[in-house]
């Protein structure tokens, strides 16, 4: 599992999609400025009845589930011991890092008094009864863990860099403005390189403990994201309000995580014109139906136990959304049970997309659609509110696009071909 499994994607950074994403990001961040000047009411449709809107539901609840690719891949590689998936880990961790980082950022936009957040670090203010407290601490810790997990990619680049861009920039600056390069700049740059070289082997030694922490933390906070709604027993529709919310959210994030790893790999292979990683993907796809079957069984078993099966099949507003989320997950998994469909990139894509949509809809159902605070309250996100979410997602894709071009993140191509060859002698068994 050396660092030579990864490579930079050699391509131009300034592409048309870069410009589009940058525009959306700028609009989103401008609206965030509006929110901080004129208050939440100026950009959102949230109300005292629906105090959590699209930001918490999409950016946090769905966003972190989508960012569970890194979690899923880490379980697969380090716990289930499938080392040949290792070349896929860095891109998964990078998306997780963006997903979680931006979920945290969204929360800071969403909360009314962010300057008081330091209270999370003051033991006398801790409130262990609150699922939110657990989620907040875990998400902060996990974002740090993801940064550490990604650090080797940065260190190895720093270690090998010759600072060409910086040198060129300093030369240009000198020509245009006459500013001299600072004294001893080369020396200082050299010491940064030395520091990176010093740090890397030390980090490598303890990295496995960080990685395992990166498996433990999502297990904790993804279940707690379900626990958040346990308290709303009078507001959340009985189709979704159950003591099994934590377990359902935990399994839900796992199958979303693996499915998103498939989608992401297919999309980035397509966008960056690299060969599809069909072998690895069908291996991952093999795991998903196991998870979804457990999930679907718990859902049905729980509904039966609480006597809500009739409600689920009543075809009213809530029942339709329930059937849709259930159907998408069940349908997608059914496709994946067929070995031949697992070998086809197209079917892999379709089924993974269905499962991600169904899994995400489940979270929407719990946080928004199934949530009814009483008569007279309605919620549909405002345009500005949506644009802020769009801006944040655009920033996420933008960052990913840029970082894979400046850091070794994607699997090295010849390594992959070698792996394919190797795997013919050693077929995947799941």
């Amino acid at each position: 599992m050396g660092h030579d499994e990864f490579q930079k994607h050699e391509a131009k950074i300034l592409t048309p999609s870069f410009i589009v994403l940058l525009t959306l990001t700028v609009i989103g961040f401008a609206l965030i400025a509006v929110r901080f000047i004129w208050g939440l009411g100026a950009v959102t449709n949230m109300s005292d009845g629906y105090p959590w809107g699209i930001w918490i539901t999409y950016d946090v609840a769905v966003g972190t589930a989508i960012a569970c690719g890194g979690y899923g891949m880490a379980i697969l590689i380090y716990i289930r011991n499938k080392m040949h998936y290792h070349p896929m880990i860095r891109s998964a961790i990078l998306t997780s890092m963006f997903g979680y980082g931006l979920a945290g950022f969204s929360v800071m936009v969403d909360v009314g008094r962010p300057w008081n957040s330091y209270n999370f670090f003051i033991p006398s203010k801790w409130q262990a009864n609150s699922a939110m407290f657990e989620v907040a601490l875990c998400v902060m810790a996990y974002t740090t863990v993801l940064l550490l997990e990604f650090l080797p990619a940065v260190l190895i680049t720093l270690e090998k860099t010759e600072w060409k861009t910086l040198q060129r920039f300093m030369d240009m600056l000198h020509k245009r403005t006459g500013i001299n390069r600072p004294e001893r700049m080369d020396e200082r740059l050299e010491s940064v390189k030395e520091l990176a070289a010093w740090l890397k082997p030390r980090l490598d030694k303890v990295l496995i403990f960080v990685i395992v922490l990166g498996i433990t933390l999502p297990t904790m906070h993804q279940s707690s994201l379900g626990s958040l709604l346990l308290i709303a027993s009078t507001k959340l529709h009985p189709l979704w309000h159950t003591g099994f919310l934590p377990l359902l959210f935990l399994i839900n994030c796992m199958f979303i995580g693996y499915s998103i790893a498939i989608l992401e790999s297919v999309i980035s292979s397509y966008a960056f014109k690299r060969p599809f990683e069909t072998k690895e993907l069908s291996g991952i796809a093999n795991i998903i139906p196991w998870l979804t079957v457990i999930w679907l069984t718990v859902v049905i078993g729980d509904l039966t136990w609480r006597g809500q099966l009739g409600t689920a099949l009543s075809f009213d507003f809530y029942s339709r959304f329930f059937l849709l989320d259930f159907g998408l997950v069940a349908g997608g998994s059914l496709l994946l049970f067929s070995g031949r469909k697992r070998e086809s990139v197209r079917w892999l894509f379709v089924s993974a997309a269905m499962i991600v949509l169904g899994g995400a809809l489940y979270r929407f159902n719990v946080y928004l659609i199934g949530f009814n605070p009483g008569k007279g309250w309605h919620y549909f996100p405002a345009l500005a509110e949506l644009l802020i979410t769009v801006g944040i997602v655009a920033f996420e894709i933008l960052g990913y696009q840029v970082l894979v071009k400046i850091l070794p993140v994607l699997p090295k191509l010849h390594t992959r071909q070698q792996l394919d060859a190797k795997k013919h002698d050693d077929p995947v068994t799941v």
Partner: protein
């Protein structure tokens, strides 16, 4: 190598499920929360209320500075002569509403914090900005620790905490029994002091309950035979008597189940003594290290073989 680790994975999943089940079973059996009737509260008798709104104006007069309350202008009222709140809001802690079924059948109702015996808002607040005073039973809010996450609003079955949506520096607004204002100065809440008809009675919960029982017994047929808040969500310190069904007055129909007990039981079962997370971390570390060792020895073998073959890329 793959198989045992999968089994372990399912074991963990199973353990989580079992823990949840265990938590559910115990939730109703033991550790039922204790109602403290020595705490203070208010009894609102809707049949005595004449809708003069003196309580509303007293509340704003007394608490406007401390509680960040302000006057709300009606659309037709260009000069701002009246305070005209439509509902509880970021500017209004207490409110009188009229429910009119017909010309002869109508009732006023007063809204404000119910001061639950086991408040959901206190249970869910991640930074202890919502607190319940053990002696007085008053549910209080501290804006200096609040992060503005609005989880209290999600949690409250009565939709009481309100948020200041139109302010750059917002806060939660809810009744605190005049804890730092009228109660300190005069020993009674502003609204109860101002009420001219005695519709709002201030006192200890046991006195309020006794008085409510007395009124129900002495006036058979006058009231709906129920003290709203006596048992709802484990009991509240703000109690109601009414001649109209309570749900018609906008008070939700609730059971005696305590939402905060349900959620805390599950959360505590999973995180009891932080044993489960530590055990999970330990087990995972053990498995991961074992896996890594296996690969390291394999890698070493491969790299020596590679060296022999003179291959140009490492393992």
């Amino acid at each position: 190598m793959g198989k045992p680790s999968r089994r372990q994975f399912f074991k963990i999943m199973g353990a989580t499920g079992a823990a949840l089940l265990a938590g559910r079973g115990r939730a109703s059996a033991s550790e039922a929360h204790l109602v403290n009737n020595e705490t203070i509260g208010m009894l609102y008798d809707a049949t005595k209320c004449v809708g003069c709104k003196a309580c509303m104006s007293a509340c704003k007069r007394v608490n406007s500075d401390y509680g960040s309350l302000s006057y709300e202008q009606a659309k037709f009222d260009k000069d701002g002569l009246w305070d005209a709140p439509q509902d509880l809001s970021g500017s209004t802690r207490t409110l009188i509403k009229l429910f009119k079924e017909s010309e002869k059948s109508w009732s006023y109702v007063k809204y404000s914090c119910m001061h639950c015996q086991k408040p959901s808002c206190v249970s869910v607040c991640p930074v202890s900005a919502m607190t319940r005073d053990k002696i007085t039973g008053t549910v209080d809010y501290n804006k200096d620790t609040c992060i503005g996450c609005r989880y209290c609003q999600i949690a409250c079955a009565f939709n009481i905490p309100k948020f200041q949506w139109d302010k750059a520096i917002p806060q939660i607004v809810k009744c605190d029994m005049c804890k730092n204002t009228n109660l300190v100065k005069k020993g009674i809440t502003g609204c109860a002091e101002a009420c001219p008809t005695g519709a709002i009675m201030f006192g200890k919960r046991k006195e309020l309950l006794a008085e409510a029982q007395k009124r129900l017994q002495e006036n058979p047929g006058k009231y709906v035979n129920h003290i709203y808040g006596e048992k709802e969500v484990g009991g509240t310190n703000h109690l109601y008597l009414s001649a109209m069904p309570f749900n018609k007055l906008g008070l939700p129909i609730l059971t005696e189940d305590v939402p905060a007990e349900f959620s805390e039981k599950i959360q505590h079962t999973i995180y009891k003594g932080f044993i489960a997370p530590v055990a999970l971390y330990g087990t995972l570390c053990f498995v991961a290290l074992k896996n890594m060792k296996g690969h390291e020895s394999k890698d070493k073998k491969n790299s020596t073989e590679d060296a022999k073959e003179g291959s140009d890329h490492g393992a």
